[in-house]
């Protein structure tokens, strides 16, 4: 390879955040016109590295070259000028603006917008044709499916002249089919000479789409490989530094009596929009019921209703002999008292309070518990002891109950939440995204614990957007799309293609441009 072929070169890039060494003398070179994957556990420093490249942070030391020119970004402006575009995990789009308005945002030109809009329209039509990125330019973002919104982000980057596109976990919100579509776009972009940097933790994607892959671990770049000369096992081992068992062995389920029976549920979300309609299922003790689906197809709303956070508008839920209807509701505390534990989907916002200490977070939902209260007095010593025993049982590190919850890594936060919910010996566990944003070592640990709870005869309802997780844990799987159940399969019979088709049910029946409203 010759010098001129290199799009991005990082030499000894170093970055500290206080005591944390986020990037430790990182070297990376990305060849022009290739798809380069960067994998690593959460907190390995991938996002920091890309943020340095995109001008959000400045490196403490080291050198960056973009197309063989020295480069130092103090804001994203320089990066855009140098030809770098970024598609964030959470889209940076204005919901009630049209596609065209969103793309022009930040490069409006003069005081009057009509001219720049007209110019943009011409340019975007050209780009869309060239790269196969057709989007209706006059539709508001909020009316587009997530996959389409992502296209807009990519278009936005290209419109601003990006020759290098960085995508941060782009498939997290997509169906397998939408992901395939995205990968086709990658190929088209590659043909036109665009360089793509793909940050992901899904090894399957790395294997199927990238040309080269770099692995990061604990701030260091530990390996560079040509994708064709490596395999997922090797990459996983490089990522965590030891062998891992992703597919956890489990015995056959000994299903008992139903712990929860949902009949014809209809549920509105917080905004009063119907997100779940006519959903019926039952969860049996000693069994894991997986609920699969693309984010935003009603599983989250369903989960909240089962946990007592949202009311149901039609149908009924029977839990432990109590029947919940639209008139007879139970709040989360009453459900906890019945033996229902809930691990929420959104760990940061719901499962914990980042500005509370670990011992206070370990109390959430149980602050009225008799064991820690004496009269009006909340017994600090018991609260602390309680948290310490949880931390020991679930190997939470650092095991300091006085540390702010926000200062734990994602995996340790999640372990603390699971400890809180598992240690009270519930009969029914409602678990949302147990391993989202959790490092691989902790994933293994968490999945084992979930299986242990099943084997102890608990009924478990598991919601996850990770198909692989659903498939490896569940004894039965129901698939949701657009608020309805579109399929039920036995865990042992499930395969990705079938589940994917079920998850995309609505995509096929509707106009594919507008897609499933997500």
């Amino acid at each position: 390879m010759t010098e001129s072929n290199i799009a991005i070169e990082l030499i000894n890039v170093d970055k500290h955040f206080g005591a944390v060494h986020a990037n430790d003398k990182v070297n990376l070179s990305v060849q022009t016109g290739t798809i380069h994957g960067i994998v690593g556990e959460n907190g390995a420093g991938k996002s920091t590295l890309m943020s340095i490249l995109y001008g959000f942070y400045q490196a403490d030391s080291g050198q960056i070259k973009v197309f063989n020119k020295d480069f130092r970004a103090i804001s994203s402006k320089q990066s855009i000028e140098a030809g770098i575009g970024m598609v964030h995990q959470h889209f940076m789009l204005v919901d009630n603006f049209t596609v065209l308005e969103n793309v022009v945002l930040g490069s409006e030109g003069g005081a009057l917008i009509s001219e720049s809009l007209a110019n943009a329209r011409i340019e975007l039509t050209r780009l869309a044709k060239e790269y196969g990125l057709e989007v209706d330019l006059d539709v508001a973002i909020e009316d587009l499916s997530v996959g389409m919104q992502q296209r807009v982000e990519i278009l936005k980057g290209l419109y601003k002249g990006a020759k290098v596109l960085i995508l941060d976990e782009p498939t997290g919100v997509l169906t397998p089919q939408e992901s395939d579509e995205l990968f086709r776009i990658f190929e088209a972009l590659k043909k036109q000479g665009v360089t793509i940097i793909l940050i992901t933790h899904k090894l399957r994607e790395i294997m199927s789409i990238t040309d080269n892959v770099s692995v990061m671990r604990a701030g260091k770049m530990v390996a560079h490989r040509e994708t064709s000369k490596t395999n997922p096992e090797e990459l996983a081992e490089l990522m965590i530094g030891r062998k891992v068992l992703l597919n956890i062995k489990k015995s056959k389920a000994k299903s008992g009596s139903p712990a929860l029976i949902a009949k014809n549920l209809e549920i509105m979300n917080e905004q009063g929009l119907k997100r779940v309609s006519d959903v019926s299922f039952e969860a049996r003790s000693g069994e894991i019921l997986g609920i699969a689906g693309v984010t935003g197809n009603g599983q989250g709303t369903l989960l909240k209703a089962l946990a007592g956070i949202l009311p149901i508008s039609k149908g009924s839920i029977e839990i432990m002999g109590e029947t919940i209807t639209s008139n007879n509701t139970l709040n989360p505390e009453q459900l906890r008292n019945l033996g229902v534990a809930h691990v929420p989907e959104d760990r940061q916002r719901m499962g914990m309070i980042s500005e509370f200490t670990a011992s206070e977070t370990a109390l959430l939902g149980y602050h009225n518990d008799k064991t820690i209260n004496q009269g009006v007095w909340l017994k600090r010593a018991s609260v602390k002891a309680n948290c310490e025993s949880m931390m020991e049982a679930f190997d939470v590190r650092p095991s300091n109950p006085n540390l702010m919850s926000s200062n734990f890594s994602g995996g340790n936060q999640q372990k603390l939440i699971l400890a809180r919910e598992f240690e009270r010996d519930p009969d029914l566990l409602i678990i949302g995204q147990p391993t989202r944003g959790v490092d691989i070592g902790a994933i293994e640990f968490i999945r084992k614990r979930i299986i242990e709870m099943r084997d102890a005869g608990k009924a478990i309802i598991l919601i996850s957007v990770e198909l692989e997780e659903i498939m490896s844990l569940s004894d039965r799987i129901v698939v949701m799309c657009d608020g309805e159940i579109t399929g039920t399969v036995n865990g042992s019979d499930a395969d990705e293609a079938t589940l994917g088709m079920m998850m995309a049910n609505a995509l096929e029946s509707e106009d594919s441009l507008k897609g499933a409203k997500v």
Binding site: G18, A307, M350
Partner: protein, 366 residues
């Protein structure tokens, strides 16, 4: 020292200190602009506030009011509510105190009358806060807007009550009759005198003990009871609170009642302690001052005690400045107060990035 510890020191002590210092430097600039020597002014202010018995008495007397309103703002703040209505709650709370202190049987013992009069203040303060709280919790009207409006309503209501209901026949000024003797809180100088110590007369009265008592109570309540836990949970994360089975609507109502009740205690100091009658605008400025006190004291009772003392100094010292210096009026206190709010509230984290950067090399060597 761990990074954790260091950050909490920075946030808890160093930042507020630097912020207050900046506010004072800005005040000094204002002094220079109006042709006053800032060092001279500082001397007068400090001596006036702390230099002699009477001055110190006044300082603590003002500080007492700021403790009540500061606590009121802080409690609401822990639930994520910005209670701007301390002014009105203090005012109406005074009415509650006055009703008890005017109409109870004068023959009753002070041991019965005083607690009842204090309860009257707590109750009326809470009642004045409950409507904005209800509107916030169940109707989505923003608490900042409604509490501000309720300050004006309180003003109008009190004028009406004083002019048309409580004013004595033949009396020209809008004020009530004198409270029954049993409701009078003893002056500190009288208490001292009864033990044989002679100190100068000042309006300082035993409500300062009430203020200390409630500071302790608020601390205990917020950090050592399950209700305090629930309030703080709602303040930090509404979603997490709901998940935990806490009803944020109820918490809003309860918290605002507590907040209003605390503000309602201003009347204990002003009316039962000093004036022994209800009159117009006895609450003037303390409700808003409480916001600055809570901001400066970082919503913690200990911080509030310190901040309230500082504001007492500013009030009393400011009065001395007005008296001593020709081209300074008492309004300079409002200017200082404004600067404290600006630097402690609005520009709270002004120095944080600098401090963090300054500490980075120290951390790197650890």
């Amino acid at each position: 020292m761990t990074r954790e510890r260091r950050l909490s020191w920075i946030n808890g002590l160093l930042l507020p200190f630097l912020n207050v210092l900046t506010a004072f430097i800005a005040t000094a600039i204002v002094f220079i602009l109006i042709g006053v020597d800032p060092i001279e002014a500082t001397k007068i202010l400090i001596y006036g506030a702390l230099g002699y018995d009477e001055g110190l008495g006044y300082t603590l007397y003002y500080a007492t009011n700021f403790v009540f309103t500061g606590l009121a703002v802080a409690v609401a703040f822990h639930a994520g509510l910005f209670n701007i209505g301390g002014e009105g709650q203090a005012y109406v709370g005074g009415l509650g105190t006055a009703i008890v202190a005017l109409y109870l049987n004068p023959a009753l013992s002070a041991w019965i009358v005083i607690p009842l009069a204090i309860s009257g203040g707590l109750l009326f303060g809470a009642l004045w806060a409950i409507i904005p709280a209800y509107l916030q919790a169940y109707r989505g009207s923003h608490i900042v807007i409604t509490t501000i409006m309720f300050n004006f309503l309180a003003s109008a209501l009190m004028v009406y009550v004083l002019v048309n209901v409580l004013r004595e026949v033949g009396e020209m000024s809008p004020e009530s009759a004198d409270f029954i003797k049993a409701s009078w809180l003893p002056f500190v100088h009288d208490v001292f005198a009864s033990f044989g110590y002679k100190i100068a007369k000042s309006p300082l009265n035993l409500s300062i003990l009430v203020a200390l008592f409630f500071s302790g109570l608020v601390w205990f309540f917020l950090w050592h009871t399950r209700w305090g836990y629930a309030i703080r949970a709602v303040g930090k994360s509404n979603d997490a609170a709901v998940y935990g089975g806490i009803n944020p609507k109820k918490i809003i109502i309860v918290t605002m009642c507590i907040s209003g009740a605390l503000a309602g205690l201003v009347g204990i100091n002003e009316l039962m302690g000093v004036q022994h009658r209800l009159f117009l605008n006895f609450n003037y400025g303390y409700g808003f001052g409480g916001i600055a006190v809570a901001l400066m004291g970082r919503n913690h009772p200990v911080g509030i005690l310190i901040a309230a003392f500082l504001f007492g100094i500013l009030y009393q010292g400011g009065a001395e400045l007005d008296f001593e210096l020709q081209n300074v009026s008492r309004d300079i206190v409002v200017v200082m107060q404004g600067l404290v709010i600006l630097f402690c509230g609005g520009l709270e984290y002004l120095y944080r990035p600098i401090l963090i950067r300054f500490l980075a090399p120290i951390e790197a060597t650890e």
